[in-house]
């Protein structure tokens, strides 16, 4: 009898454990596959059920849409090229030399990665806009009596913002790769009589190629799907696919066309993403080992290091400084008035609530999204570890898909899929947190899965022998061992949610704007009050992101994967 009931209990517990593992798959089905299917629905199927290709025909036949496609690709290529042109030399310097402050600078350089696009766009307007700091300075020194720098609403400003965003991404990938690459092949080359140039040309570059490719691909992906930067800095003249999806869906209300554009975007992203994943598999170091960085000896060394440090310093920190300066001094006089204004609803304000309330809204959303992402991400990681071979790889790929699906596409899909029974969430609080959970999920899995996989099998086997049930093994063995990775994943999901813009723009309701949508509304309105509030709010968001960033850096395991 006792034996029997314990067997039943075991079976029940196994069933519960299985259900816990299946939950994330159901979640993905309801909130990822379902919205995407709806997008395919509006783009392919007419109201009467027939096949409708008008959206696609429209794209193919109109030079306007072909131009948008071309612009999306070309701007991504140019942005990637400029990014790599800056990141590669800097990475070589960082990998070769040991100098004081290197590791601090290197980790600070990752900061842009966690910054919301709205904040970055605001930063570049504050710095280089027609009434920006650089123009103010030029006016002050009398170089001109009119705004000299006129790059607002040009591709130049978009390019700068993309470079700002992506140099850190490329730098981090390249430096990590270089640091784990043994110097032996180069030394062998030198011993065999090759000169420095030959070693660089025939040994270093070919060895670096997979890392270069993978860094360039991820930068390309980010620029190709750029939304907030192009929407805010480009004005009506510029549109990436993402921006056009938003305009067609929210502004013009041409859902079939928006759907068709989203399908095109999705296809392009899937291609780029699978190329990226393939390239990362090849970056597993060929000649792994530690390369010792050498101290600065000659003047040449000194110049190389100084150039890299100054270049990175200017690129990364002047835009952020510009935000802080504009927050306390939007028009030249120092004041905290605009921070005070955040707590009020001025007459005719574009927000229905005090702006400070948007911070609370976004913090709550980010908490929920982080908790959900960590829970589901951990379950998914366990599932991937458990299922070996092809099935595991399939689940792994499916988990990465939300990364390839842009936030705008996701927001659009939510609007059309989750607004009717059985899943009617239109007026519910949950729309944005769920969308953000999907966006955060890949980060959590990328963080947790490697840690889980590195747990020696013997530990789990020991637990099994000692009679631990599956759930107990997860709770008392696996989770405590990967808690640092969990924390990093949670912080990533939290920060991403906090600054997320594309999905929020679709899903935020006017009575509960998120902090990003609030900044966007302020930036779009003229007048010093709106301008001042935009920067005060941006500064606060910047500081919160900075805190999250420090948390991530503090707990990131030394060998954590980069993405």
């Amino acid at each position: 009898m006792g034996r029997n009931s314990s067997a039943i209990r075991r079976r029940l517990s196994q069933a519960a454990f299985g259900a816990a593992l299946a939950a994330p798959l159901l979640f993905l089905l309801a909130f990822f596959v379902n919205p995407l299917a709806s997008i395919f629905g509006v783009s392919f199927i007419r109201a009467d059920g027939g096949l409708d290709l008008s959206g696609f025909l429209n794209i193919a036949s109109s030079s306007y849409y072909r131009n948008i496609l071309a612009f999306t690709a070309v701007q991504a290529v140019i942005s990637t090229a400029v990014t790599m042109a800056i990141a590669v030399p800097c990475a070589l310097v960082f990998a070769r030399y040991q100098f004081r402050g290197k590791s601090t600078l290197l980790s600070l350089a990752t900061l842009p990665f966690v910054l919301p696009p709205v904040v970055v766009a605001a930063a570049f307007i504050a710095l280089l806009g027609e009434r920006g700091l650089v123009n103010d300075m030029l006016l002050a020194i009398g170089a001109s009596d009119d705004a000299l720098l006129r790059i607002e609403r040009t591709f130049g400003l978009i390019l700068l913002a993309h470079v700002f965003y992506n140099v850190p991404v490329a730098l981090r990938i390249l430096v990590a790769f270089l640091a784990n690459q043994s110097g032996t092949p180069e030394e062998a080359g030198r011993m065999l009589g090759a000169n420095r140039r030959q070693v660089f040309r025939f040994i270093s570059v070919p060895l670096l190629r997979p890392a270069l490719l993978s860094a360039a691909l991820i930068v390309f992906i980010f620029c190709f799907s750029s939304f907030g930067i192009v929407l805010i800095l480009g004005g009506p003249q510029f549109a990436t696919l993402e921006v056009e999806i938003y305009r067609q869906a929210a502004g013009i209300f041409n859902l079939p066309l928006a759907g068709a554009l989203a399908v095109v975007q999705l296809g392009a992203m899937l291609l780029a993403m699978s190329a990226y994943l393939a390239s990362t598999r090849r970056t597993a170091a060929l000649y792994s080992g530690k390369r010792a960085a050498r101290p600065i000896r000659t003047v040449r060394d000194r110049i190389a290091v100084a150039c890299a440090v100054v270049l990175l310093g200017i690129l990364l920190f002047t835009p952020l400084a510009a935000i802080l300066i504009r927050a306390i001094s939007p028009d030249g006089t120092v004041t905290l008035r605009y921070f005070a204004l955040l707590a009020q609803v001025p007459r005719a304000s574009v927000l229905a609530v005090p702006a400070v309330q948007t911070i609370g809204t976004s913090l709550v959303i980010a908490c929920v999204a982080a908790i959900l992402s960590v829970g589901l991400g951990t379950a998914l990681s366990l599932l991937i570890r458990q299922t070996s071979g092809r099935l595991g790889r399939l689940v792994d790929t499916v988990t990465m898909l939300p990364l390839a699906t842009s936030a705008v596409t996701l927001g659009f899909g939510f609007i059309i899929a989750l607004s009717r029974p059985p899943l009617d969430l239109r007026s519910s609080f949950w729309m944005i947190p769920i969308a953000h959970t999907l966006i955060g999920l890949p980060f959590v899995v990328r963080s947790v899965l490697p840690s889980l996989q590195s747990i020696p099998r013997s530990i789990n086997e020991a637990a099994l022998l000692l009679g631990a049930r599956p759930a107990q093994r997860v709770l008392y063995v696996d989770i405590p061992l990967v808690r640092r990775a969990l924390l990093v994943g949670a912080a990533f999901a939290f920060t991403t949610s906090l600054g997320e813009f594309g999905a929020g723009l679709f899903l935020a309701r006017p009575n509960t704007p998120t902090i990003s949508t609030a900044i966007y509304r302020f930036l779009g309105q003229p007048g010093i009050n709106n301008y001042g509030q935009a920067y005060a709010l941006s500064a606060m968001l910047l500081l919160v992101c900075l805190l999250c960033f420090l948390l991530i850096e503090r707990f990131r395991p030394a060998d954590a994967s980069e993405l």
């Binding site: 030079s63 009506p236 003249q237 929210a250 209300f253 007459r347 574009v350 609080f429 779009g524 007048g527």
Partner: protein
């Protein structure tokens, strides 16, 4: 962990449930960014009806309507104000309104009642979308004369002077596009110069495209008081010059801005309010519609939103009488025609101007 989980879940549950808790003495008005009304009028509504008025600004008129169509049956508020004749059919087709014939409709001219059969929307105000000019700029020596027709805008003398709004995101922008279609003919016109030719010339003449009216008028237009805009011509309303005089810190000797109201240059825009289907306070919503047609509200609109009252008896402020001329021959297009072609027009416009 478990000890933490319960309070966490409870607080999230509360957060989720709180906004949903309906208060039946509140009427929520969903409207566009340009909505404004005097505090005293809001107080009067509350005193007269016992309802508290909440105002929710959802963006420009187009976004307002789209968002309402997307949330049909589950609305953001009780009453929507700000759908105009260029978006009317989309809103009506989206089935977002409950019919309501306010007793006060009797006094409203029939020409303004575009849904007289079903009364799903109630006309509240009207105005003309016209070009505005910066008087100081055009008075200066060497400046070209104030343009009197739309044709003139393509003259190189006006290069770089005009700001218009994107018709996809702004209702005056869309209205101005309609005016040009009425003036130059649709793209299938075979007699030569169409509205697209006009816009192509305008784009070549360095027209500035703003996303919305506020950015165009207060951000780019040089005539609006106290801003750093650089363009002396903007698409705005026939009544905007009254605003410049009314809000001027000291009475200006010469009117700082003017409206160009020649025949065929203005588009008549009528704004409507409707009760949103799914409201949990239909009685309050009806009270608000009634109130919007009372003299108190109608006479307050001109100086807040610079539009004309639909009730003929409403007294128009002196500054309006002094500075505003409505167009004698405004352009208007049939809402059904607009609805059948709106997307194509915007599409063609985008392809022509933003290429």
């Amino acid at each position: 962990m478990k000890r933490l989980l319960i309070p966490l879940l409870t607080s999230f549950g509360l957060l989720v449930a709180l906004p949903a808790a309906a208060q039946d003495d509140v009427v929520t008005l969903v409207t566009h960014d340009s909505f404004a009304i005097s505090e005293s009028v809001i107080q009067a509504f509350q005193a007269e009806t016992g309802y508290t008025l909440e105002i929710l600004r959802a963006g420009d008129a187009g976004i307002l309507v789209n968002q309402s169509v997307l949330s049909a049956g589950n609305p953001l508020g009780d009453v929507l104000f700000g759908v105009d004749n260029t978006f009317l059919t989309r809103a009506l087709d989206g089935d977002i309104f409950l019919p309501y014939a306010s007793p006060a409709l009797e006094d409203v001219p029939e020409s303004l009642q575009l849904d007289a059969d079903e009364n799903r929307v109630t006309p509240i105000d009207f105005g003309d979308v016209c070009l505005n000019y910066d008087a100081e700029f055009f008075a200066a020596a060497g400046a070209p004369p104030v343009p009197e027709s739309l044709d003139a805008l393509t003259d190189p003398a006006y290069a770089g002077l005009l700001t218009v709004q994107h018709p996809a995101t702004s209702s005056p922008g869309l209205a101005f596009l309609m005016a040009t279609i009425a003036a130059f003919g649709d793209s299938d016109d075979t007699d030569g110069y169409t509205y697209l030719d006009f816009w192509r010339d305008l784009a070549a003449n360095d027209v500035y495209i703003s996303e919305g009216w506020t950015d165009a008028y207060y951000g780019q237009f040089s005539g609006a008081a106290g801003n750093e805009g650089t363009r002396p011509l903007v698409v705005s309303y026939a009544s905007s010059p009254a605003a410049e005089v009314y809000y001027a810190e000291s009475a200006p000797e010469v009117q700082p801005t003017g409206a160009i109201t020649g025949p065929g240059t203005c588009f008549r825009q009528i704004e409507f309010a409707g009760i949103l289907d799914g409201t949990d306070n239909e009685a309050g919503a009806q009270a608000l519609i009634d109130f919007m047609l009372t003299p108190a509200f109608q006479e307050d609109m001109p100086l807040n939103m610079f539009v004309y009252p639909v009730i003929p008896d409403a007294v128009i402020p002196q500054v309006f009488a002094d500075t505003v001329t409505l167009s004698d021959e405004p352009v208007s297009l049939d809402p059904a025609l607009i609805d059948a072609n709106r997307e194509r027009w915007i599409q063609e416009w985008v392809e022509t101007v933003l290429q």
